[in-house]
């Protein structure tokens, strides 16, 4: 009975360095060196163990790029030639060293080794894959996968691209090796929270992390590094053991540095005469490693001595014993406190074994034999077997981490390679976008679709190849930087070229074939892996587009308004809402961009109007108003871009007031759209002039917007004159379109009860409603009340609304001794306001400044007799003696006279009220105002809006 487990994991990876066009690429040679020195010797070790019936366990990662190259005919053919050449060189060496028996012994060793390898390969018909498959079938070797091109996943931008890496990797594994892998080696052990969710999604059960990843997990793992940890998304993380790693990896005291081991850096490729070695190095005469090395490490700063194979073999055996001894101690210590068999996971780069550490495969051979046959304490196990035995793991949250220098991302992200990510991220987004667009629109022409699909597949290959972490790694190490930069650049440039072909529907089949031939990796790549993952989000946006397309709208209007129901401070929001929904009734699609608030949803359709409520970077309360307004404009401009991406194509922009001016002008410029602005009120009018820098700023913003607009709509002729006068706008650009009111049914209610509730008798009632600001002229009304108090003592004045003047006016009423007959009601809602209108005998609007005067219209719509000052827009609404009475603005005497007249003649005032109601119906109903507005759009050349004329 064993006390614990040891899991040995080798990570074999090679970037895709196949260069079909030429056979002298040094980078491609990496592959042949690794095959000759690592992969085949390792395979031979495992194969021998198997034939010796040793029940060992080993786990090996074959990265999908490596696997693809191992499976490649051309690579196999070229390797064969490489091997033959190496055998030839070894043979020549035996002759060359004839007069140096010590050296010749080594030459003979190589010759024998290479011949054995050649024999082994020819038995497999140079298909190493078959060798790996046979071992996997035996159950002794577990093969797992890696991200398709060894992309460093924490720095991949989108989930789609990560999933494509994972899925393509698994597909390749299954296609070539015949089975789905259960586990994955995350490239560079690069983990970041969320990767686990995607691993789960593609059906992978486990992965590997570095030891500090588990050490810094939350909560603290109870079993430390001696058991794997589950993540919240149900995948299992195995931690590589630090001590086991150090013993093999360490550049100071790791095994490979032993003085008896072969020296890597003394190679005959550099030592022999040029004439002699020329056929075996790079054709351009560049000296390279040939793999034939005659010396041992010997020591630091000493003359290198000749290699002694027997010494080295003994060292390998003793290092294997040492390694096992320490694992046994580790396990014995842990057994005392652990509730299950401890597991030590030792992971290494496969290329260390045989290439850098020539004796590595021997070491592994001894280690596997010793452990499998002799150890009473440690048993070899694969991760899958472990998970079959222990199905439940403790759970933990793992931090982002890697096995690279200092444990995080600095190898792949620093001053030497940081520039890559801007391009790689954009490439991901571009590919996703084009694939999405293609799958939305395909199905028209089969042949064209097939070609486009081919191009997208190749685009996927190019992106993945560019994503290989190897390039960033090379740039960090400053080795073959030119090559790494070239590769990244070329793959990205190819991808962009392919996407342009698909986007613009101009296929260059020859070029496409050329790219496919150059990089024939992943033949069955599935480009739909790049379709946006959250399909429902896409659907939402499609519905949005469909909604506006389905009904064949008579044009699309993009409305910008800083306030909109339910966020309404003044009359603007209300007016925009009424206009928008009446445009919708006329068949126009309307998108309103407005501010967000805590208590309304971000996106909704209100009476057919698409409302987009936009959050800002800084909340409204925090900064001064102007900064916030600008932030809202930024958000509007971003939202427009999003709408555009989602397929919404506005025909015209309709801006309301200066507050949305920056966005309106920007959108106009960007999309070349006509801009209509409605100026609801002017800063100049609000303050009877411009007095402060802020007012000046706003005034200028109004001017700029007015000038930038193709049409300026105002609500009254009075406003038209003001705008023309203040901003010097050509009259032709100005249009007067009134505001409207809705002719709703007057609310039914008990008048007597309301009178009781307000404790007012049965005398006549005057009613004012509006914001209590100076310009509304309520003080005039108070003065008139004082003058009328003897003749009309039973009259009551009701004042609804709130504002800064309330206190002052209340006090004034007290001073005048009319407090009893004047009631300040505060804010009233719409229903109560309508009831008060109906209760009133006269509605009074003694404004000093009133751009339009929508309340007056609302009173008129309800059939209430009105008295209004002859100012601004009011003057245009009320015709004295016909549909109401007017007074000289600011003149209390005039106000008193008119009130007296109206109070004395109930019949006349009812008659005028009826005329007024009729007028409203005729001129101020939203249907006709919406049609007038559409006419303005049409005059700006918004062609499709002409439909509504019918």
């Amino acid at each position: 009975m064993h006390n614990g487990y040891l899991s040995l994991v080798l990570h074999a990876h090679m970037p895709y360095v196949r260069h079909g066009d030429r056979d002298d690429r040094l980078e491609e040679r990496w592959m042949y060196e690794a095959m000759l020195e690592c992969y085949i010797p390792l395979l031979m070790v495992f194969d021998k163990l198997l034939s010796d019936k040793i029940d060992f366990r080993m786990t090996m990662v074959l990265s999908p790029t490596l696997l693809s190259m191992l499976d490649d005919e051309l690579i196999a053919t070229r390797f064969r030639a490489y091997l033959a050449k190496t055998v030839e060189l070894a043979g020549k060496e035996v002759k060359h060293t004839a007069n140096n028996p010590a050296e010749q012994r080594i030459a003979k060793m190589y010759l024998e080794k290479f011949r054995t390898i050649a024999l082994f390969c020819s038995k497999l018909d140079y298909r190493l894959i078959e060798g790996f498959k046979r071992l996997a079938d035996s159950g002794c070797l577990e093969l797992i996968t890696c991200a398709a091109t060894h992309a460093f996943l924490p720095y991949v931008e989108t989930e789609e691209a990560i999933l494509a890496q994972l899925r393509t990797g698994m597909d390749t594994h299954e296609r070539i090796l015949g089975r789905r892998p259960r586990g994955i080696w995350l490239p560079e052990c690069g983990y970041t929270p969320g990767v686990d969710r995607l691993l789960r999604e593609v059906g992978l059960q486990y992965f590997f992390v570095d030891s500090h990843t588990i050490e810094h997990a939350t909560p603290q793992p109870r079993r430390g590094l001696l058991a794997p940890l589950g993540t919240m998304h149900g995948v299992v993380a195995f931690a590589r053991d630090d001590v086991a790693s150090q013993q093999v990896w360490s550049t100071f005291d790791g095994y490979p540095g032993d003085y008896d081991y072969r020296e890597y850096y003394r190679d005959i490729g550099f030592d022999r005469d040029m004439d002699y070695i020329e056929p075996y190095i790079h054709p351009a005469g560049i000296r390279i490693h040939t793999g034939l090395k005659y010396h041992r490490i010997t020591g630091r700063d000493v003359e290198k001595q000749l290699y002694e194979p027997d010494w080295a073999r003994e060292k390998a055996a003793s290092h294997a014993g040492h390694f096992l001894y320490h694992r046994e101690r580790q396990i014995e210590e842990a057994v005392a406190w652990m509730d299950r068999k401890p597991l030590v996971v030792a992971t290494y780069d496969a290329e260390l074994f045989g290439h850098w550490w020539y004796e590595g495969p021997q070491f592994l051979d001894y280690l596997l034999r010793k452990t499998a046959c002799d150890s009473q304490i440690v048993k070899l196990i694969t991760p899958s077997e472990y998970l079959d035995e222990y199905q439940e793991q403790d759970l933990g949250h793992l931090p982002m981490s890697t096995w690279g220098r200092n444990g995080y991302g600095e190898v792949w992200l620093n001053e030497k390679n940081g520039w890559l990510y801007r391009h790689l991220h954009q490439a991901e987004r571009d590919l996703i976008e084009v694939v999405t667009a293609f799958y939305e629109h395909k199905g028209q022409e089969q042949e064209r679709d097939q070609l486009a699909s081919r191009a997208l597949k190749q685009a996927g290959r190019e992106l993945m190849l560019a994503q290989s972490s190897d390039w960033a790694f090379i740039m960090d190490g400053q080795t073959v930087v030119e090559y790494a930069v070239r590769r990244t650049h070329d793959h990205l440039a190819n991808m962009r070229e392919l996407l342009a072909m698909v986007r613009e529907d101009r296929m260059d089949t020859e070029r496409l074939t050329q790219m496919e031939t150059a990089f024939p990796i992943f033949p069955h790549i599935d480009e739909t892996y790049y379709l946006p993952k959250e399909a429902h989000r896409v659907n939402v946006s499609h519905q949005l587009v469909a909604a506006s397309k389905g009904a064949e709208p008579a044009g699309v209007v993009l409305m910008l308004a800083w306030e909109f129901p339910p966020n309404v401070v003044g009359g603007l929001g209300r007016a925009v809402y009424d206009l928008a929904r009446h445009l919708v009734r006329q068949g126009v699609a309307v998108h309103v961009l407005t501010r967000a608030s805590d208590w309304s949803v971000a996106e909704e359709v209100m009476d057919g109007v698409h409302v987009h409520r936009l959050p800002t970077y800084i909340p409204a309360e925090q900064e001064d108003f102007l900064s916030w307004v600008f932030q809202l404009n930024l958000a509007m401009s971003d939202a427009t871009e999003q709408l555009w991406k989602n397929g919404v194509r506005p025909d015209v922009i309709h801006a309301h007031d200066w507050l949305v001016g920056w966005a309106a002008m920007e959108i106009k410029e960007r999309y070349s759209l006509p801009l209509v602005s409605t100026i609801h009120a002017l800063e100049y009018g609000r303050h009877q002039g411009i007095h402060t820098p802020l007012q000046e700023r706003i005034h200028n913003s109004e001017r700029t917007l007015a000038h930038a607009s193709d049409r300026v709509i105002v609500c009254s002729h009075y406003m038209a004159n003001e705008v023309q006068r203040l901003f010097d706008i050509p009259r032709a650009k100005l249009r007067v379109i009134h505001n409207g009111v809705d002719l709703a049914q007057p609310p039914a209610f008990d008048q007597n009860r309301l009178r009781e509730e307000l404790s007012i008798g049965d005398g006549p009632i005057l009613f004012f409603v509006g914001r209590l600001v100076q310009e509304k002229g309520v003080h005039l009304l108070l003065e008139a009340m004082a003058r009328l108090r003897y003749d009309f003592g039973h009259v009551t004045l009701l004042i609804a609304g709130k504002g800064p003047m309330q206190g002052q006016w209340q006090q004034r009423a007290e001073e005048m001794g009319i407090a009893e007959r004047v009631k300040f009601l505060g804010f009233v809602d719409d229903t109560r306001r309508d009831q008060l209108f109906l209760l009133a005998d006269i509605a009074v609007f003694p404004s000093l400044y009133e751009p339009f005067g929508i309340v007056a219209l609302e009173a008129m719509a309800l059939g209430v007799p009105i008295l209004a000052a002859d100012t601004g827009g009011l003057r245009e609404i009320v015709r004295h003696g016909e549909n109401g009475a007017t007074m000289y603005a600011g003149n209390p005497e005039s106000l008193t006279d008119q009130l007296r007249w109206l109070l004395q003649d109930p019949k006349k005032r009812r008659q005028m009220a009826q005329t007024a109601q009729h007028d409203v119906l005729q001129h101020y109903n939203w249907t006709s105002l919406a049609i007038q507005t559409m006419e303005e759009y049409r005059l700006l050349g918004v062609a499709c809006l002409a439909l509504s004329e019918k």
């Binding site: 924490p154 720095y155 989108t158 989930e159 789609e160 990560i162 970041t192 929270p193 969320g194 969710r197 500090h212 810094h216 997990a217 939350t218 909560p219 603290q220 919240m232 998304h233 759970l395 933990g396 949250h397 931090p399 982002m400 444990g407 995080y408 991302g409 600095e410 992200l413 620093n414 001053e415 940081g418 520039w419 990510y421 801007r422 954009q426 930069v485 990205l492 440039a493 962009r496 993952k533 959250e534 896409v538 939402v540 959050p615 800002t616 970077y617 800084i618 909340p619 925090q622 900064e623 900064s627 930024l634 401009s637 971003d638 999003q642 991406k645 920056w662 002008m665 920007e666 410029e669």
Partner: protein
């Protein structure tokens, strides 16, 4: 001391106010700010060198320097270092310039780093805020001395009249913790509703509603 000065500066304090708070003369405060500015510029000169190296490498370089897309992207290089790259498109600059009534190139650019760990950020509830000045031609930056195990986001923006005007916001990034969890620290479930906020996982799903204004 410089830290404190920069912090007060970020709070829109005047030089005189800062001098009083720090017990320095106005001249001393100005000198320290100037020195910091110079330091910032030398760092970015290094950056510049790197990027020109990349573009000089090949004569037939086909990748655009910029993509016409407004973006601020933050990546965690290590528990204490963030990498930020950005692109502000010309139309956006134009809009900002028209708001500030100034030449965009003349305005001091910078990054504002917010620690939004376990917060649904609303623009003003960050645990801490730090400003970093960057120079005109920088397009990426390494932000040093951030804290491990925190959630950050970054605004790219302009400093004008002592006030920061954000023009683009990044998604969040989580720095890895580099110490053992405290005794009893609980397991936190990942957010199940990923539409809001998908913030505790380091990458985001591409979507047609990308989070430009979140």
């Amino acid at each position: 001391m410089l830290e404190k000065i920069l912090e007060l500066r970020a709070q829109s304090k005047s030089i005189a106010q800062i001098a009083q708070e720090c017990g320095l003369t106005i001249g001393q405060v100005k000198y320290r700010l100037q020195k910091d500015r110079a330091k910032v510029e030398s760092v970015s000169a290094e950056n510049r060198q790197m990027s020109s190296l990349a573009s000089r490498r090949e004569e037939n370089w086909q990748l655009p320097a910029f993509y016409g897309r407004d973006i601020v992207k933050v990546m965690a290089q290590s528990p204490t270092v963030l990498f930020v790259y950005w692109e502000i498109t010309w139309p956006r600059m134009r809009m900002v310039a028209s708001y500030l009534q100034a030449d965009f190139r003349q305005i001091q650019k910078g990054l504002r780093l917010y620690d939004v760990t376990e917060r649904l950020f609303d623009g003003q509830n960050a645990h801490s805020v730090r400003d970093i000045y960057v120079c005109e031609d920088a397009h990426s930056w390494y932000v040093n001395d951030v804290l491990p195990g925190r959630t950050y986001l970054i605004d790219f923006g302009l400093f004008e009249h002592g006030r920061f005007c954000p023009i683009l916001r990044s998604d969040v990034v989580v720095t890895p913790r580099n110490t053992k969890a405290a005794w009893g620290e609980p397991l936190v479930e990942p957010a199940s509703d990923r539409s809001a906020p998908a913030w505790f996982e380091n990458f985001s799903s591409y979507s047609l509603y990308s989070k430009t204004s979140k």
